[in-house]
């Protein structure tokens, strides 16, 4: 294990632990205000937790607030942890090249060597042509590329990325994401995001945080396919009914029962989750006949365009239908409708 942290910030209701393996990228997913950025600040040394400990490559970064233990607090500049924020925060008085050379210069590298390193990293992020520009002359995407180069040039043992793509135009984000995918490969990093694409493309493992606490953790592909927490399910676009196993279905807290196919052996009465895609959901005004399936009474809360379809949201489930169907069924927020889903489309697993 190259990095591990466990910390409490009681003022913010924050209590989180995480580990990052050698060369592993961990994505921290969670809604706004869930404590993701707090975690970044604590790891970088910009915020002192009430209690907790962290170590990187066997070296203790901090160990505070625990009785009977000596107090350790390594200052930010001595941690080997670089932070890339949502905004590039390039130093406005330095050229792009000098911005990237800042890290090497700060640890005493010679000017020529720092410049050579900076040129190398600017090349790595496809920004060599901007070397002489001042930050004010750069677009958002260019500036963020240079900020990535600057963080990497500092040769951090752990790289923290706090929503690095959130402030970028939709048009440039994919290219920067691809670049990050390339440079993060084989590097120990933690990326905070609320975009499932970031997690899918950049991270080996995902940690889901809500209200300052970890609610779910696992390998990216597995977690996104079978999310157990409401947040992960929502961003992964999946419906989820949590409850206990009852026969071949999950009995939800409101009495609704969802039939499905268990992907692993679960005993009746065990906590379980039923997951299905919105595209597998049929929407009706009257109860349909035909083969047995799950039938759920819901009230529409929201209609929103989703690709070439319309996503019909209710308080806990959603369905994807065509615009024609929305018109034919005369759907609008407040309409009572019936959702149906075939049992074969529902995956059930232990939660």
């Amino acid at each position: 294990m190259t990095f591990e942290v466990s910390a409490t910030v009681s003022e913010r209701g924050f209590d989180l632990s995480m580990q990052v393996g050698v060369g592993e990228t961990l994505a921290v997913l969670g809604p706004n205000g869930s404590g993701k950025s707090t975690a970044m600040s604590v790891i970088a040394g910009l915020l002192r937790p009430d209690a907790g400990t962290a170590s990187l490559d066997g070296r203790v970064l901090f160990d505070v607030g625990r009785r009977g233990r000596s107090h350790v607090w390594v200052p930010p500049h001595d941690r080997g942890v670089a932070l890339l924020a949502q905004e590039p925060l390039l130093f406005p008085h330095l050229s792009a090249l000098d911005n990237v050379a800042f890290g090497p210069r700060s640890v005493g590298q010679a000017r020529a060597k720092s410049r050579a390193l900076a040129e190398h990293w600017l090349g790595q992020v496809d920004a060599a042509q901007y070397a002489d520009r001042k930050p004010a002359q750069l677009s958002g995407g260019q500036a963020q590329r240079i900020a990535v180069a600057r963080a990497l040039a500092a040769d951090p043992r752990l790289l923290l990325l706090d929503e690095p793509l959130a402030a970028l135009d939709v048009a440039v984000a994919p290219a920067v994401r691809q670049m990050l995918r390339r440079v993060l490969n084989g590097r120990s990093a933690v990326i905070v995001t609320h975009d499932v694409l970031d997690a899918l493309l950049l991270a080996d493992r995902v940690l889901v945080v809500e209200d300052g606490h970890m609610v779910e953790e696992g390998p990216t592909a597995e977690l996104l396919a079978r999310p157990r927490s409401a947040f992960a399910a929502r961003i992964a676009g999946l419906n989820m009914v949590r409850g206990t196993l009852d026969g071949h279905g999950v009995l939800g807290p409101d009495g609704a029962r969802i039939e499905g196919i268990a992907e692993q052996p679960i005993s009746p009465g065990d906590p379980a989750v039923a997951v299905f895609r919105p595209s597998a959901v049929g929407v009706y005004r009257e109860p349909p006949g035909g083969s047995p399936r799950n039938v759920i009474d819901v009230t529409i809360t929201e209609l929103e365009p989703f690709g070439d379809q319309i996503r019909v949201r209710t308080d806990r489930l959603s369905a994807d239908v065509t615009a024609t169907a929305v018109a034919e069924l005369d759907l609008a927020p407040g309409t009572d409708v019936i959702f149906t889903v075939k049992a074969s489309e529902v995956a059930i697993y232990r939660s």
Binding site: G45, H77, D78, V81, L89, F102, R105, S106
Partner: protein, 262 residues
């Protein structure tokens, strides 16, 4: 917004009080110009006592400004970047000379550094006599000018925010490196404008100086003191020196503006 363009029109009546205000500032300056005896102007400002006063003023104001920078920059950093118990009280106390009548500042300094002052005895043992010396002029000017530098620099530091500094530290820069390579360049305009304000305040200082340092030609009699004394005996000389001080002030502000500081 581009210079010369306005998105929203101002109410017309605003221009009336604005014009009166501007007139109120400019008219007295013009009044000086009308009273200057131009034929004798050069002679008046190059008399021994005038030259002594001008050089003393420039010398002491420069040293005071330097002291303001040396002590004011750390003070502004502590006020802007840390939080400690009693910080608000400390800030108010540091800014007190801004609102204090300068003569009160002079008396306070006298009872600190004067022969009977709380530090006076210490200085006397060391063989240093502060009161009524050029050192006293510098202390008086620094006392009244320091808050100007602290206020403008603290404002600049707060505007710049601590985020660049945080990033710099995670890139491996020690606090001193962060200060030298990030903080200082970011707040340089604020620092220059603070230093200019401090210099201007030191140059115009009168009350604290005459109380604490007295009025001895070539030693403690700065230009404002010289003007005040000349006014009793030679009004023409006083007017000529006043104009000189106005010119010096305009040059200082012009230099600072040229650098985009204020």
């Amino acid at each position: 917004m581009a210079r010369g363009s306005r998105q929203v029109g101002l109410p017309t009546w605003v221009f009336v009080p604005a014009a009166f205000g501007a007139l109120f500032v400019v008219l007295p300056l013009a009044a000086i110009l009308t009273r200057v005896e131009w034929g004798n102007f050069f002679g008046l400002i190059t008399s021994d006592s005038s030259v002594d006063a001008l050089l003393l003023s420039l010398r002491t104001s420069s040293v005071s400004t330097l002291l303001c920078v040396i002590f004011g920059v750390p003070m502004a950093m502590v006020l802007a970047r840390t939080s400690f118990r009693g910080q608000q009280v400390m800030r108010s106390l540091v800014l007190l000379p801004l609102v204090l009548p300068p003569v009160v500042g002079g008396i306070a300094l006298l009872y600190t550094f004067g022969r009977r002052g709380i530090l006076g005895h210490t200085f006397e043992v060391l063989g240093i006599q502060v009161a009524f010396s050029t050192t006293a002029v510098v202390l008086a000017q620094t006392f009244v000018a320091l808050p100007f530098l602290v206020v403008s620099l603290e404002g600049a530091l707060r505007t710049a925010g601590g985020r660049y500094e945080a990033v710099a530290s995670t890139l491996g820069a020690r606090p001193t490196t962060v200060f030298r390579r990030v903080t200082l360049p970011l707040v340089l305009p604020g620092l220059v404008s603070g230093a200019v304000l401090s210099f201007a305040r030191a140059l115009g200082e009168f009350g604290a100086t005459i109380t604490f340092a007295g009025s001895l030609q070539g030693v403690t009699r700065t230009l404002p003191l010289e003007i005040y004394l000349q006014r009793e005996t030679d009004a023409d000389a006083a007017v000529a020196l006043s104009l000189l001080l106005v010119i010096v002030a305009i040059v200082v502000i012009g230099l600072a503006r040229g650098r985009g500081a204020i």
